[in-house]
């Protein structure tokens, strides 16, 4: 088990390194000279030529822009690792680090709440569907879960927004009511946040919820027919007790394993929904940054989001190994 943990952690570190290379690639790809465009953007009309040159040199030095590309990468990386310096955003004229940390807590909260939501909703539905296989309820759930994975979440977000606005005059833009936006954290603010989160969470969680329902249904159907279920019922357990105590425990493992792809999907989903609905997560910031080629900000966001996702997947892998010890044996035995 310990060897499995070490190997998983090592993989995660390797993946994060590869992600950082990709994020750096995103920063490098757009054509044009970063230093000159940065200086031309932030320099005001009254700036002397001398001052501009100074700035240009300072920028070039800071990002090692005059050196070969691998050294630029190393400079960028070591700045991040040693002092949390992700570079400057020229749209905001502020350090990227600041912008990301301001918005990250809500981004992570939104993701975690969505994850929680999809389990709470999907597990009972999947169970019901499997236990009542080939009934009308099962067909309806199967059909709905197909529709659920087929509707692009940004379209769903738009339609829900329009319906809520035109029928109930509710606007779901943002995550806080105006009176709480600037207020300090309080019970009222948390409640307000949760209220505003309901619609986005349902919209973002739709796809992964539908996916989880289908996975759970399939694995439950496999487990329900197995001998240990007959034994459980033979020793006098009621059908539901046998399902919950025995079959569900095993059928949950593939769902924990599926976290590996659901986490990235939820992060992607929350990003595009945030852009459409205008939630104060990193999503809209990344969108603007890419449209205006504010590359250090974009690269920073991609790096942080992807690393967090990999970290989350690592946690789910370790969790799975604890809940299903067969995993670490199988993996070690290959």
């Amino acid at each position: 088990m310990a060897a499995y943990f070490v190997r998983r952690v090592a993989y995660a570190v390797l993946l994060i390194f590869l992600v950082s290379v990709l994020a750096f690639l995103v920063i490098q790809l757009p054509p044009g000279d970063y230093a000159t465009s940065y200086v031309s953007r932030i320099s005001s009309a009254g700036m002397t030529e001398e001052r501009r040159q100074e700035l240009l040199v300072a920028i070039t030095q800071r990002y090692a822009l005059d050196r070969p590309i691998h050294q630029q990468y190393l400079t960028w990386m070591s700045n991040i690792l040693t002092s949390g310096d992700f570079g400057m955003s020229f749209n905001w004229n502020r350090p990227v680090y600041r912008i990301i940390t301001e918005r990250l807590p809500l981004t992570v909260t939104l993701g975690l709440v969505t994850l929680f939501f999809q389990f709470v909703v999907a597990i009972p539905i999947g169970l019901f569907s499997a236990v009542n296989q080939y009934t009308k309820g099962d067909y309806l759930i199967t059909l709905l879960s197909f529709v659920g994975v087929s509707i692009p979440n940004f379209l769903l977000a738009l339609v829900v927004m329009v319906l809520l606005f035109s029928n109930f005059n509710i606007s779901i833009g943002g995550l806080f009511s105006p009176e709480y936006r600037e207020a300090a954290w309080s019970a009222g603010k948390v409640l307000d946040l949760l209220q505003h989160m309901i619609v986005p969470v349902i919209v973002i969680g739709m796809e992964s919820t539908a996916g989880t329902v289908r996975t759970l249904r399939a694995t439950m159907l496999d487990e329900l027919g197995k001998d240990y279920m007959k034994v459980a019922k033979a020793k006098g357990l009621s059908n539901w007790a046998a399902v919950i105590k025995h079959a569900l425990r095993i059928a949950l493992n593939p769902i924990i394993a599926a976290l590996g792809w659901q986490l990235p999907a939820i992060v992607s989903g929350s990003m595009i929904v945030s852009i459409v609905v205008g939630l104060p997560t990193v999503g809209p910031i990344l969108h603007q940054a890419l449209l205006s080629q504010d590359m250090y900000l974009a690269g920073g966001i991609i790096l942080v989001l992807s690393s967090l996702t990999i970290f989350g997947t690592l946690l789910s892998d370790l969790l799975l190994a604890v809940s299903d010890p067969r995993i670490s044996f199988e993996d070690g035995g290959k």
Partner: protein, 369 residues
Amino acid sequence: MQETTETTFKSRSQMQLIMLRFRKHRLAKVSLWIIGGFIVCALFGEFFIPNDPTHAFPNMNYIPPRKVRFVDADGRFHIRPFIYDYKQEFNRTTWEREWAENTEVRHPIYFLARGFDYKLLGLIPTNIHLFNVSETAPKLFLFGTDRNGRDVFSRTIYATRVSISMAILGVIISIVLGILLGGVAGYYGGIPDDVIQRISELLLAVPKLPLWMGLAAAVPSNWPITKVYASIVVISSMTSWPWLARGIRSKLISLRKEDYVLAAQSYSASNMRIIFRYLVPNFMSYIIVSLTLAIPGMILMETALSFLGLGLRPPAVSWGVLLEQAQSFQTVILYPWLLIPGLFVVTAILSLNFVGDGLRDAADPYEKG
């Protein structure tokens, strides 16, 4: 599923058996017809649309969808469908533009009527369209017009070509990459296997959208449409080849140990013969199923990127480009018909998912999913 008692003994090939089981899946069968419809639209798009999809009609922006009628204002039924012209009115109480129907003149819709010039399949010059109003009548805007006064119906049908062809091309690229990389990893093992595994893990572990947005944003804005098209195809194919490569790798690894492979090796069959005669037919059905299920992901990725203004750009016409105009919900509240292309996206994805599911059940009756 109920057992049919078949008394006739007839040998059927693997393919015939799959087709037989597939036909039992009713939703999948209907979906296959819908997909066929999309492909016909993609090939003969111009024939089905009354207006030139790229033409902006002056002073005709944001016209609501025209109602096609059979019953006129006096309650009389006409066998030939017709439309009424709209006249713009200014509502003094709400201070909004409103469109009222002018019920004095009926404008009938003719089938196989003349319209704008185009080349059928890019070869045959013609101006015959499936349906249109006469030249003097007001234009037929079935789904209304967009902010530039272009016909949303014509654009939506026309966009099928770009959206569907992009998805198919993307899937072809990922299938080639998937077979190549998955095959190498599964057949040789060792270091190539490790490298390919790590790369595909990487592409699966990162949230796709932010990264793809980043890569798509790097496509220079002055590139011609075809180059942008190709780059977006390549970018979106990155989302599905890792799945395919991993699937093929694990299939190969498990099949390699099968008795019939050993048997083939023992009569000294060549590697190539083993791969193509024994292994490929075994995972062919897997490939076809994954292919079908990968196309929706492609359509989604292109739509999402173009919707965000980072994918295809006008004058290219794809579903995502059309939906880009519906980005803000204020616009959608005022002009809800701009979301109609979204219905096409959902229909296409849903039918492909049904067909994929039907194929999977048909190809592998032992595996539930």
